[in-house]
C-alpha cells in the first residue's frame, strides 16, 4: 500500500509557531524606517513564510520530483509576468509621477 509520509505533531506546531513569530516580525519591521528596504524585508519574510507552508503544511518536501517541478514552473512563469512587465515600466520614467491628469475630466458612458 502507499506509504505516505505522516508528519509528527511537533513539526506542525513548530511551523505554526514560526509563522506566527514571523508575522509579528513583519509588523514590527514595518515600524522601523528602512526606506526602500522595508518593502524587500516584508516580501522576503512573506516568501519565507510561504515556503514553510508549501514545504511542510502542503507536504511538498516529501512529494515527487514531478510535483516540485510543477510548482517551480508556476513560480517561474509568475516571475516572467512580473519581471518582463517591469522591463517596459522601468525603462520609462518610473519613479516620477505620471503627469497629473485633469481631475475634473469625466469618463463615463453609462
Amino acid at each position: 500500500m502507499m506509504s505516505d509520509h505522516v508528519s509528527p505533531l511537533a513539526l506542525y506546531l513548530t511551523i505554526f509557531g514560526a509563522l506566527m513569530v514571523l508575522t509579528a516580525v513583519t509588523v514590527g519591521a514595518a515600524y522601523v524606517d528602512l526606506g526602500a528596504f522595508n518593502f524587500l524585508v516584508a516580501i522576503a519574510i512573506a516568501c519565507f513564510k510561504a515556503s514553510l507552508v508549501v514545504w511542510y503544511f502542503m507536504h511538498v518536501k516529501w512529494q515527487s520530483q514531478m510535483t516540485k517541478l510543477t510548482l517551480a514552473t508556476g513560480l517561474f512563469t509568475l516571475a516572467i509576468l512580473l519581471g518582463m512587465s517591469l522591463i517596459d515600466y522601468a525603462s520609462r520614467n518610473f519613479t516620477d509621477m505620471p503627469r497629473p491628469v485633469n481631475p475634473d475630466a469625466q469618463m463615463r458612458a453609462h
Binding site: T73, T77, I80, S85, D88, S91, R92, P98, V101, M107
Partner: protein
C-alpha cells in the same frame, strides 16, 4: 486476404443510445464528438460575421452597415473564432479522442473533469451568444481600455464573462492532458516513443494552464471597472490603459501558440504517414514544441510596439520575437526533409498538409516583418497584420484541423468519406484562402487600416478580390459538412487502418471500443516504424 470489412458490433458509439448516456458520459471519445458538434456550430456563427465583413468591404463606402455595426461584426468574428473555435478545436476534438489510444491508455486521467470542461464550454458559449443576440460588443476582440472599461455602451460584461468561463474549459483540458501524458502511458511507451501529436499537445497544455489565468484576471479587472466604477485602467484617475494591454497580451500571445501547436502535431502525423517515413529529426521536432511554448511567453509586447511602451523594451521584445520563429522554422525544415525521398502520396489529409506547409511558411515569415520595429510602425493595425494572422490561423491551424479530421475520421466513425469530393474541397479551400488573404497583404502594405468599414476607392479591386475569394473559401468549408454527414450512413467501411499508418490508435478497431484496448498494450517499437508496417494493410479507397 481482404475480407469484406464490416463495422464491429461493439464500439463506443453503441454503448448506450440515450441522451443521458451521452450527456453523462465519461468516455473521452464521446466528449470529443460533442465538442466536434459544438465547435462546428461556433465556426459557422463566426463565419457568418466574416461574410458580413467581406460583404461590407466589397465596396469602398460604408454602405452595408453603420460603422458601429461593423465594429460589432469584426468583434464578434474575432471573439467567437478565437475563444470558441480555434482554441478548443484540435485539443478538444482530436486531442481528447486520440491522446488516450495514442499512449495506450483507457481514458484520460480525469474523465469527469473532461465532461465538466465540455459543460463549462457550453456555459461560456451560451453567455457570449446571448450577448451577441442582445446586440454584441464593438471593442474588437482585444477589448482595449479605456474604451472597453469606461466608454463603450455595448454588452461587454456578458461577452467577457463568456470568455472567462470558456477559459476554465481550456484550463481543465490542458490540466487533464498534462497529467494523462505524464502518468497514463502504457508500459514501454517512453517519452521518445510518443507520437509527435502527443508532444505538441503536451506543450499546448502547458500554455493553457499557465497563460489562461492571466486573461481571466484581466477580465475580472475589466468587470470591476465597468460594474463598480473602480479605476484600475482609468487614465483620469491615474490608471494606465497600457497595463491592460500587457496583461491581455501576456495570455493572448501564447494563445496563438495554443492555436497552432496542435496543428503542428497533426502535421507530423500526416507527413510521416503519407511519406511512409519517420519524421526527420524526431527529437528536434519534439523539443521545438516545448521551445515554442516557453518562448511564446516572453514575446507578448510585440503587439504593443506603438502603444506607448519604451523603445528599450520594444527592442527587447522585438529580438525575442525573432527567436521564437526559430523552433517553428526547425519544424518546417524537418517536415520538408521528411518529404524528401519519402514515398509521398496525395490523399486528402496530405493535401491539407501540403497546404499547411506553404501557408504557414508565408504566415510565419510575415511575422518576422511585423517583429521588425521599423516595419511594424508602418503596418501595425493595417490589413498586413490581418493577412499575417489569417495565414497562420486559417492557412495553418484550420488546415491542420481539417487535415486531422480527414485523417482520423475513419478511426472515429469507422467510415470513409468520398475521396473525390474531399480532394475538391481541399483544393477549393486552398485556392479560396489565397484569393481571400493574399490581396490583404498588399492592401495593408498600401495603408488600408483594419477595423474600418470604408476605404479609399483605389483599394477596391484588391478588396473585391478578397471578398470573392471568401465566397470560394466558404464553399470549401461547407462541402466537408455534406460529405462527412453522408459518409456516416453510406461511406465505405474503413477497417482498423485504412491509411497503413503507425501509432497505437491504428491498432484498434474503427470505431474503437469504449475502453480503447481490450488488453493493455505493451510498446516495444519506436514511433513511425514504417519499415515494419506492411503496406498491404492500407486500403486504397
Amino acid at each position: 486476404m481482404l475480407d469484406k470489412l464490416k463495422i464491429p458490433d461493439e464500439h463506443y458509439l453503441h454503448s448506450g443510445h440515450s441522451l443521458r448516456s451521452w450527456l453523462l458520459t465519461k468516455d473521452h471519445k464521446r466528449i470529443a464528438i460533442m465538442y466536434l458538434m459544438s465547435i462546428s456550430v461556433m465556426f459557422f456563427i463566426g463565419g457568418m460575421f466574416a461574410v458580413g465583413i467581406r460583404f461590407e468591404l466589397a465596396t469602398p463606402q460604408g454602405d452595408f452597415v453603420t460603422a458601429d455595426t461593423y465594429n460589432k461584426f469584426f468583434t464578434m468574428h474575432g471573439v467567437i473564432m478565437v475563444f470558441f473555435f480555434l482554441i478548443p478545436s484540435i485539443p478538444a476534438v482530436l486531442g481528447n479522442f486520440l491522446i488516450p489510444p495514442m499512449i495506450g491508455a483507457k481514458d484520460l486521467a480525469f474523465p469527469r473533469i473532461n465532461l465538466l470542461s465540455l459543460y463549462i464550454y457550453w456555459l461560456g458559449g451560451a453567455f457570449t451568444l446571448a450577448a451577441m443576440l442582445m446586440g454584441g460588443v464593438d471593442t474588437g476582440w482585444t477589448f482595449y481600455t479605456p474604451y472597453s472599461s469606461a466608454a463603450s455602451n455595448t454588452h461587454i460584461i456578458p461577452t467577457a464573462l463568456g470568455i472567462f468561463i470558456a477559459g476554465f474549459s481550456s484550463i481543465l483540458t490542458g490540466l487533464n492532458f498534462i497529467v494523462t501524458i505524464h502518468r497514463m502511458r502504457a508500459p514501454g511507451m517512453t517519452w521518445f516513443r510518443l507520437p509527435l501529436f502527443v508532444w505538441a499537445h503536451y506543450a499546448t497544455s502547458l500554455i493553457q494552464v499557465l497563460g489562461t489565468p492571466v486573461i481571466a484576471i484581466t477580465i475580472v479587472m475589466l468587470f470591476v471597472e465597468r460594474a463598480f466604477g473602480f479605476g484600475i485602467f482609468d487614465p483620469t484617475r491615474g490608471g494606465d490603459p497600457v497595463l491592460f494591454q500587457h496583461l491581455f497580451w501576456f495570455y493572448s500571445h501564447p494563445a496563438v501558440y495554443i492555436m497552432i501547436l496542435p496543428a503542428m502535431g497533426v502535421m507530423s502525423e500526416l507527413i510521416s504517414t503519407f511519406s511512409r517515413k519517420i519524421i526527420f529529426g524526431y527529437s528536434f521536432v519534439a523539443f521545438s514544441s516545448l521551445a515554442i511554448a516557453v518562448f511564446g511567453f516572453i514575446v507578448w509586447a510585440h503587439h504593443m510596439f506603438v502603444a506607448g511602451m519604451s523603445t528599450y523594451s520594444a527592442m527587447v521584445f522585438s529580438f525575442l520575437s525573432f527567436s521564437v520563429g526559430i523552433p517553428s522554422a526547425v519544424k518546417t525544415f524537418n517536415w520538408s526533409a521528411t518529404l524528401y525521398k519519402g514515398a509521398v502520396s496525395f490523399e486528402t489529409p496530405m493535401l491539407y498538409a501540403y497546404g499547411f506547409l506553404g501557408l504557414f511558411a508565408i504566415g510565419g515569415l510575415t511575422g518576422l516583418f511585423l517583429a521588425t520595429l521599423g516595419i511594424d510602425v508602418h503596418v501595425h493595425d493595417t490589413y498586413f497584420v490581418v493577412a499575417h494572422f489569417h495565414y497562420i490561423m486559417v492557412g495553418g491551424a484550420i488546415m491542420g484541423y481539417l487535415g486531422g479530421l480527414h485523417f482520423w475520421w475513419p478511426k472515429m466513425t469507422g467510415r470513409m468519406y468520398s475521396e473525390f469530393f474531399s480532394r475538391v474541397s481541399a483544393i477549393t479551400v486552398f485556392v479560396g484562402f489565397n484569393v481571400t488573404f493574399f490581396p490583404q497583404f498588399v492592401v495593408g502594405y498600401l495603408g488600408m487600416p483594419r477595423r474600418y468599414h470604408s476605404y479609399p476607392d483605389e483599394m477596391q479591386v484588391l478588396n473585391v478580390m478578397s471578398s470573392a475569394g471568401a465566397t470560394v473559401l466558404a464553399l470549401g468549408y461547407v462541402m466537408p459538412v455534406l460529405y462527412f454527414l453522408y459518409s456516416l450512413k453510406w461511406g465505405k467501411v474503413a477497417g482498423p487502418n485504412p491509411w497503413g499508418a503507425s501509432g497505437l490508435e491504428w491498432q484498434t478497431q474503427s470505431p474503437p471500443l469504449t475502453e480503447n484496448f481490450s488488453e493493455v498494450p505493451v510498446v516495444t517499437s519506436e514511433p513511425y516504424h514504417y519499415d515494419d508496417v506492411v503496406i498491404k494493410e492500407k486500403h486504397r479507397v
